[in-house]
Symmetry: C2
Subunit: 154 residues, 2 copies
DNA sequence: GTTGAAATTAGCCACCC
DNA sequence: GGGTGGCTAATTTCAAC
């Protein structure tokens, strides 16, 4: 998996992370390439898997998701089966946007969004009572999002 | 800000979160709408600000970002100026993808990505030594990403 | 809300240097 | 690796329903 990305590719990736609706024409102008040359670059980046997909970014607040939490979860057992059971269960909870297996004291960190307090209580109950092998839960509420990059540093 | 979103809009938003490159034609077919009617819906969703933008999602691993951390930061002071100074400084660090002001014991939680150990050490030094008013830092490394939704539950 | 058509733009491909 | 040109398909706007 030796990927050779040059400065032009990086510029294209940066531009597409900001706005994937730019046409190959204007993308090409931004890097000093013709539309077709730029098109070939993009296809290559897609085929190499560097570009995983193109997604619409929605406004969480306007969709009613006003609360965000980082939830630390500790399991009663760190056995293979315990981890698998927890991970499978977590996939089915739509409010859980991210789940990471962690090094250190907490087994998992979850990033979740909620519409309101009731929503969070339901989620909290579901995590602590209905998920397999959960020993402890510690919820940290985000008061305000200071920074939220949508993409990676390229 | 009373937004009226019906079931058709939700379906469109769901589809666009998965793949924003679908044509208005196929999007319309998915919800039982003509292309032009579907197009009007999309424009309305954009103008309402429900759709913030369209972005390319890149593969972190293939770009060399193999490490991910959640870093808890405590400040020496929680004064207005201390928070502002920290938040301004954090904006300039590209590896910091997210920064949240938190309720509870930690003042901030940062989600950061790194290419390697050196990269992380540099970042750690920069956070603890060069950022204003930092009292303590606790880094939690993600061993594996179990779940990573790109969008919101719509 | 729909259809259909027109004008514009973008994506794509074969062929060239 | 690069560019030109042309065909096809998509977007976008519009009139009329």
């Amino acid at each position: 998996m030796t990927l050779q990305i040059d400065a032009v590719d990086r510029k294209l990736l940066r531009a597409l992370q900001e706005d994937s609706r730019k046409s190959v024409q204007v993308l090409g102008e931004g890097v000093g390439l013709s539309a077709s040359a730029c098109h070939r670059r993009l296809k290559a980046l897609e085929e190499q898997g560097l570009i995983e997909g193109y997604r619409a970014v929605l406004n969480a607040g306007k969709l009613g998701y006003s609360m965000q939490f980082f939830i630390e979860v500790g399991l009663t057992s760190q056995s293979e089966t315990a981890l698998e059971a927890f991970e499978t269960a977590v996939q089915d909870i739509p409010e859980v946007l991210e789940c990471h297996l962690m090094a250190g004291q907490s087994d998992y960190i979850l990033r979740v969004v909620c519409q309101d307090h009731d929503d969070f209580e339901r989620l909290h109950r579901r995590l602590s009572a209905r998920l397999p092998g959960v020993a402890r839960i510690h919820s940290n509420m985000s008061i305000r999002t200071v920074k939220a990059r949508t993409g990676l540093p390229v």
